[in-house]
Assembly symmetry: C2
Homo-oligomer: 723 residues x 2
Amino acid sequence: MADTNALVAKLEALGLGEKPVEHAAVENVEQWAEALAGASGVPAAYTLTKTLIFKPKQPKSEPVAPVLVVIKDDTVADAKAIGRELGFKELRLAGEEILADVFQTSRGSVSPFALAKVPEEQIGNVRVVLDKALLSDGAGTIAFHPLDSTRTVFVDGACLQSFVKSVDGLKHVTEIDFVALAAAAPAVGEKAAKPAKPAAAVPAKAEEVTGSAKQGIEASKEKDFATWYRQVILRSEMLDNYSVSGCYILRPTSYFVWQEIQNFLDAGIRAMGVRNCYFPMFVPEEELNREKDHIEGFAPEVAWVTKAGQSELAMPLAIRPTSETVMYPYYAKWIQSYRDLPLRLNQWNSVVRWEFKNPQPFLRTREFLWQEGHCAYMTKDEAWSEVLDILTLYRRVYEELLAVPVIEGVKSEKEKFAGGDATTTVEGFIPATGRGIQGATSHYLGQNFAKMFGVVVEDPEATGPERPKLHVHQTSWGLSTRTIGVMVMTHSDDKGLVLPPRVAETQVIIVPSGLNSKHTAEDRQRTLDACLAVEARLRRVGVRASSDLRDNYTPGYKFNHWELRGVPLRLEIGPRDLEKQSVLSVRRDTFEKAALPLDGLEGVVELLLHKIQDDLLIRARATMHERVKMVLRWDDFVPALNSKCMAQIPWCEREECEEQIKTRSTRDAQSDEPEDEKEPSMGAKSLCLPMKQPQNPPIVAGETKCIQCGHDAKRYALFGRSY
Amino acid sequence: MADTNALVAKLEALGLGEKPVEHAAVENVEQWAEALAGASGVPAAYTLTKTLIFKPKQPKSEPVAPVLVVIKDDTVADAKAIGRELGFKELRLAGEEILADVFQTSRGSVSPFALAKVPEEQIGNVRVVLDKALLSDGAGTIAFHPLDSTRTVFVDGACLQSFVKSVDGLKHVTEIDFVALAAAAPAVGEKAAKPAKPAAAVPAKAEEVTGSAKQGIEASKEKDFATWYRQVILRSEMLDNYSVSGCYILRPTSYFVWQEIQNFLDAGIRAMGVRNCYFPMFVPEEELNREKDHIEGFAPEVAWVTKAGQSELAMPLAIRPTSETVMYPYYAKWIQSYRDLPLRLNQWNSVVRWEFKNPQPFLRTREFLWQEGHCAYMTKDEAWSEVLDILTLYRRVYEELLAVPVIEGVKSEKEKFAGGDATTTVEGFIPATGRGIQGATSHYLGQNFAKMFGVVVEDPEATGPERPKLHVHQTSWGLSTRTIGVMVMTHSDDKGLVLPPRVAETQVIIVPSGLNSKHTAEDRQRTLDACLAVEARLRRVGVRASSDLRDNYTPGYKFNHWELRGVPLRLEIGPRDLEKQSVLSVRRDTFEKAALPLDGLEGVVELLLHKIQDDLLIRARATMHERVKMVLRWDDFVPALNSKCMAQIPWCEREECEEQIKTRSTRDAQSDEPEDEKEPSMGAKSLCLPMKQPQNPPIVAGETKCIQCGHDAKRYALFGRSY
């Protein structure tokens, strides 16, 4: 048995002697990725790995043969398939006992290097399985914990192989191509698909048609939301992690959603008379500091450029966290007369807010894409009218494009935009966590910024030589890529992403199916041709259809592949369908199946896509409706939160009371409930004062009291835990 | 007479004692703006001023009454109008004598503070005119040279007023609203318009219809191109200067052009199968440094983020100068098999290259907008085929949208993209300066980056367990907002911007005209209604039409206003036009006029817009064609450059020879010609090896010699001075 020093020596001998990167202890692959992203000395690109230890079902008489599997973190270790490869009947994850006794380690710290610690008398029984994908040159650098979960070493595939070879007494090493393994498996799925007669027009359950190849999501949305969310967005290829912590790559699937949002919103604001422009991303320090309240809100999160090439800059430049202070000095210059009003500009850009809180893909990232509109008006009424028009557009983005219901409201004083007079908001809600989320905001800035930057005009109604100066009334409003995260959280399920048809890059995936060894090459060709013909017909009417004719994957594999990626509708076409002049459709959202006649298919598919879009919103709206709880006494407040609801309460609207609600709900929740690690009980904050106020019971001035403090209630407010 | 010390004391007393900002001596307002943008201690926003000294035409007997005018830098000081206001017959710019004798100063150093130096016996004769726009609160901070052109002080309007009041003995101070002055003037323009009978279908000369209100461009495109360009882009409101040097604000007029380019190009590349995505703007230092040649090309220009909030970053982050090294580590990860090829991604973003050379709006800016495509293929042929397809799209952007002709070619070894194998280019040409300009480039990167980042797949054609690894073949290609600058330089004229109709936010401006005091309120209303009706009809067929019904400006003023802003077509509608059921059209490019019948107007206007678009390209192409000189001996080379041409020469394609051509053409030019300050004679570099090679005379292998060095010529190359 090698002790730690010997192991280190061995690693050194293999060229692994570089100091491992140190970081906080991590408990799962997501935490690990985060920790590395924040650490220094980490290579630009690397593949995370996981090391799993299985125990096969064996006759008691045989010595235990632990199976150590080293695999890419996003590859599914199909225990059955591995067992088959190694000739074992059944593999199960090994318990702590085997980890401790055989590998001198514990869960969370398992790595291939644990092999170096296996006692001499046991190493001969150990089976090692290496993922071929890690060994190919293309794999690049791979990351392991060498000893425990607070350190990471980076090696390449060849290193891993040499290390494994260097372990004395190790006899059984197998390299497995897990991709091929998964591809081979769906034969089972094929079989499983049979009972669901393709011709049946009656809706059938999803499980019947999905292959069993376990690509896809392992975590459960209900049980482990955080892991589930990561898996959905990474594995559906919406997003990839990036080597700078808190920054993410928007892959084509998610960027397509963003472009659809852009097209809709850009047309909407242009139709209102807003014009697009582009201001530089850099803000000189002193400009940023002009508006005091505003800068207090943003300063801690500003990223600073201090150097260009080899030269220090004379004045540090901020990267815009938002553009009020970038743009308004020029508004002061451009607005010389009331005739220059309104000035209505928008820009599509990216902003940087160096959040030190946990980043959350789409929802809270250090760089994100958005639009920011900035308008100046003569009067408050005009400005307010725009604030509300924009809010309507934002609601429509959520509801009509993303099928996500939102609640329109006004933010409390505490939650409003730093430096503005009032903030209106569309608030979303994630049922799986019971947390509210700010969807997009439209601010009435009042005259605050105008005073700060001197945006004034002469009063057109006054006469005489010395007309009084009037400060303009301003608005600003923004909607960001956060929308995409809210959409994913709302609709997606344990099979992966669910995309509303309006924003799906591929709306219909066509998969040839039902072909087997009895079919001739001609049958096969006829089926593939039929797929392409259907694709062409759909494309002609503007449906974004695509055929998956890959010959190295089974239909079952493809079903999973496209379900994971959220394609709203699947059409299966096989020889028997063609005989009947029909295709089999399967909805991604409900897995409902229907035989659709080829004749007039275009119209039916279009209708079906509209139906899916509508149904997604209807279902999400019903859920949200259930989760807005009318709470008329404090005792019901925390229980409402704990049942993953938002609480609608008569409220006094005092900032002090809002603070108290936060503190009190945190405390109550802690005493009521056992601490849940994944979803720590958190206090509630005000989400908004809904524009549609409940009427039953109505707020009676001077009579209805705030449920927290007993002061007079002014309006109903929506409170909840939130992102 | 106050000496310098006394002046400083006076300024201090007025609260102007702050240390002035120091900078290099400047000779004109453009240089001044640049100098300030690069200096520290400069306020976020300020208005540049100019101080002009005029001398009125007076009877010799009277004492000289110099007129000192302080005015916004972009306001035209109409000498005639100022004279009228002050009761002088004629004003002319004062000569150096008056500057020296009366104000103790010299050209380039004139400021209001020169008043403090006027001798006691003369101050009583001086007239001071202050621009009201500088005194309004809205003006904000205004910038002056206090004593000479190497220093700048920033004051507000009130300060300026107190200073002027404080000048002992000064008697005549007048505040003039120059905007109103300009607005009042065009009555003259109206008169001038009369001879050009609105009903005449015969084209007439421009000058006849333009008002005389001298808003607009003062510099001549031919005589002072640099100043002309600045004036055109600033005054047409394409762009504004920004408080960070080398960064500019894209105002709606130019951003509209960019969005039209985006729409066209985005549709084109998507149709080719390229998908959009978004990578973060930050690049960790070590990632940037992976490709050696590449980083050598970019390192001196990289902007570094070193701080976030109050914290120093552990690892500095570059802001992407281009995304090869940002993206390719992920290509290595995503491309696991030849089946993942091709991978074709594009992103629309902004990049930062901290150029230390003189910035040039649109052409060379520290932040600019572009798209960058990055694709990976199995084979060189596929990659090359895309490189050329993209180049075709780029040519179409220039030719079909911007009406700018370009020459397709391949860059020389010296000029190709750092780290790539070959660069193809569309080269533009600015006739007014005789300089070539790189329009957009499409690179074949070969396998260089693939080797660096390990982007490999297994050879699909090989068999057996150990398939050889193949590095992918890559392309990258980009087109930026530089396009807009090339378009402006190509078409615009001494009246301002000329926009091709396809990219003009307003394609048709409708101006009511021909109304005078003899017309009734009803006539007026009927005319305005007719304008709106025409606007509505044009909009219905997709023409971007707009009516200028402002009641505080004369038609002449409006003509100038929209000519300056490049609107391709003006329609004038007056009572007499309506009687004849027609409108008068005036083209911006040629000032050609025609009466268009109201009946069927939409179709005629559409045709006219197409004609304008086509004519712009045809004219620009003819000019370019003239300026490509076939040069078959060295002695003709520099003369060709000096006559603002590009030289097409038989060339050996050796890097050494390219260096020699640069040196030799610089030297020859210097000895041949007197140094021209505005356009220093510069050496020629290779612009491209044109894809369409001249055939007459053909290059005969082994026979045709390079005109510079006498080695065998391989191809014709285009050489020229360039941006």
